[in-house]
Amino acid sequence: MSLAGYEFEVQRDDGLATEEMTLNMGPQHPSTHGVLRFVVKADGEIMRTALPDIGYLHRSIEKISEKVGYHGFMPYTDRVDYVSAMQCNQGWAMVCERAAGIEVPRRGEFCRVIACELGRIASHLLSVGTMVMDIGGMTPFTHAIREREKVNNLLEDLCGARLTFNYMRIGGVAWDLPPGYTEQVTAFLDQFEPLIDEYNDLISYNKIYVERLANVAAVSKEEAINYNLVGPNLRGCGFQYDVRRDEPYSIYPELDFEVPVGTGEVGTLGDCFDRYMVRIKELKESCKIVRQCLEMIPDGPVLARVAKKLKPPVGDAHVRVEASRGDMGWYVVSDGSEFPYRTKIRTGSFSAMSIVDKLSRGLMIADLIALIASLDVVAPEVDR
């Protein structure tokens, strides 16, 4: 890959010749969260630039959709973002429903939202846990993973899988809630919600942790929009935008929830700490949404009648869902056959990679770790 245009001269007053060190961070590096590579040009500990080199996890998922058909593509959507697969399921199901004009039963929509928000809790727990671990704290990670296991157990009860769920179907969901599910989920939420405060006590406002994150890699509102940041990264800059609220889909308009934004409480608005804190606050909001859904869920079928060989009319459809890593766009073009003509998935991690180069200039190497962690990049979602 060409690094032309990124050559920096290091000039010293005493005339000694120095050169910059080119560091390859990744593809196998403990804190790049998967197979990501950064070409870091560093002057000692100070970075001049960190260029993301992506593509190590490219699996041609969009192309696969053209060969397996609408129903058959559902398990592959799990692999787009395996940390929060439920929202990817939902995106694909919704875009197919919009293309084919299928109405989802109301109970099915509630099942979807419950599954998605539980998935969001799991994803954000992994995100904040690994972020603390990247900063060097070991204990909060295990505490977050302990709670994530409980969410995984709940999702396993729901659909039989713990990571790649394949729960949703075009026209609804595969299975209804199992008996006693409401009580199980409520018990988990009752136990989990106080732990968010404990998590804040344990690490969020820890002096060292705040020092490491405050004022590091701050993104302004305009920058965030120009670089197409989405989801918690965008909200961390203080810009209140959430697809669930601003372009409502499913049953979200009926639900009451806040859209937390970064406040710059310990440093600059939009720094790493704000992005971290938005995720912590979203955990609470997701708990709130799940509780409401469990109360409001009506009786009825969960899956509409959909043709085995789905052939949407010629045309295209586009939906946006608020995935754990932000606005996820799903676009499908149908040529009237049983296979999609073209599928496009737009993910939050991919666009987040574009700002790494700009933010990393002048940071220290240790800050790059905090930056990547705070952007919550998941490598398979970058490459698809």
Binding site: H29, M133, I135, M138, T142, I208
Partner: protein, 396 residues
């Protein structure tokens, strides 16, 4: 030690061998006994203890398979490491690469020469004991720098350079924090410093004056930094530098790095116990049996040393890692000025109360106890609030 060998010579155990040959041979023998009979088991136990303490803090079980409660886990890891291939990278500077771990291990093993275990058990009671420790511990920095340079790996190099900067900087606050105690006792000998204290907390240098109290913690922080412990583990920061200076090492050389790291953890605790917690001092007069007395002193010394070791484990499990520039500013902006304040403050204290203030130590002991009570009440409050499932049984 010398008198013991003299006694052996006098009793004719060695026949007619010249004394010049017997002294080095005996020293070598005792050093071997200390290394293999004491330090290696100590390190494996410390590693096991750390992993169990961590597990409890992190709500896991931890190693419990090898031996009773997993005590022999360190042994199993050691055997595994010996069986692994000892890879030396092609591009590495081979002699330096091979030599670096030994230097690191020497750096901490040599400190055991002056660390006393009881009133009688000390290999050599050097009259420059503390100075010797400060000097010899710095050897490990050379080892780390050598490992980082010789690996010919950029991550290793960064780790090595970070370590050199760190150790060189933190030598100064550590040295300054030792000086108040040296001022108070007028000796550098470890045994001399312990004998200047008493068994009771108010006779310890920790509670001698506010200045020594601060010096104790300044020294502890500096010692954590010198031994590359969290929150100062930036030379091997695994999320930043892969494994820092140890990235290219494998097999037993890799194990030696770990040996040195956990070994120096005990050394830190032992120095803290010697300088500030009264070392092996116990109430006297209850026994005339020297062996029983020494065993009691040994136990007390271990408890005191392991208190600090446990604290380091606790800190490591709790705190994140600080950044390089923050570490430097902590050292030069806060700890070094604090060290000078302590030094001058102790000197002034000694001028005002040459025999030591009789009231302040009691006050400080009471204050510390009050702090502990407040701390545990807070712990209880959080336990009540979070309603966790508690397992008090230490054996799982």
């Amino acid at each position: 030690m010398q008198s013991f060998i003299d006694g052996l010579i006098a009793s004719g155990v060695f026949g007619g061998l010249p004394a010049e040959a017997i002294y080095p041979a005996m020293m070598f023998l005792f050093a071997s006994i200390v290394v293999f009979g004491f330090v290696l088991p100590l390190v494996t136990i410390t590693i096991w203890l750390e992993r169990r303490v961590w597990s409890r803090i992190q709500s896991r079980v931890g190693p419990n398979r090898v031996g009773p409660q997993g005590v022999l886990q360190g042994l199993a890891d050691g055997v595994k490491n010996i069986l692994k291939e000892d890879v030396v990278p092609d591009a590495a500077d081979r002699p330096l690469f091979v030599f670096a771990p030994y230097l690191l291990v020497w750096g901490f093993l040599a400190t055991f020469v002056v660390i006393p275990f009881s009133s009688a058990l000390v290999i050599a009671d050097l009259n420059v004991g503390i100075l010797y420790i400060v000097a010899i511990v710095a050897l490990s920095a050379v080892g780390v720098l050598m490992a980082g340079w010789a690996s010919n790996n950029k991550w290793s190099l960064l780790g090595g350079i970070r370590s050199a900067a760190q150790v060189v900087s933190y030598e100064i606050p550590a040295g300054l924090a030792l000086l108040p105690v040296v001022l108070l006792t007028g000796t550098l000998s470890t045994q001399g410093i312990i004998q200047a204290q008493g068994w009771a907390p108010w006779d310890w240098f920790l509670f001698h004056s506010p200045f020594t109290f601060i010096a104790a913690f300044a020294f502890y922080i500096s010692a954590l930094a010198e031994t590359n412990r969290t929150p100062f583990d930036i030379p091997e920061a695994e999320s930043e530098l892969v494994a820092g200076f140890a990235t290219e090492y494998s097999g037993f050389r890799f194990a030696l790095f770990f040996l040195a790291e956990w070994g120096s953890l005990y050394v830190t605790g032992a120095i803290m116990a010697v300088l500030f917690l009264g070392g092996w001092q116990i109430p006297t007069g209850w026994t005339n049996n020297t062996v029983v007395l020494n065993i009691a002193q040994l136990t007390v010394f271990f408890l005191k040393a392991y208190f600090w070791v446990f604290l380091a484990m606790w800190i490591r499990a709790t705190l994140p890692r600080i950044r390089v520039d923050q570490m430097m500013s902590l050292c030069w902006k806060y700890l070094v000025p604090l060290g000078f304040v302590n030094l001058v403050g102790t000197a002034v204290w000694m001028v005002i109360w040459p025999e030591g203030n009789t009231f302040v130590p009691y006050l400080m002991v009471v204050g510390t106890l009050a702090l502990l009570v407040i701390f545990f009440r807070r712990v209880l409050y959080h336990l009540r609030r979070a309603k966790p499932e508690l397992y008090f049984n230490p054996a799982i």
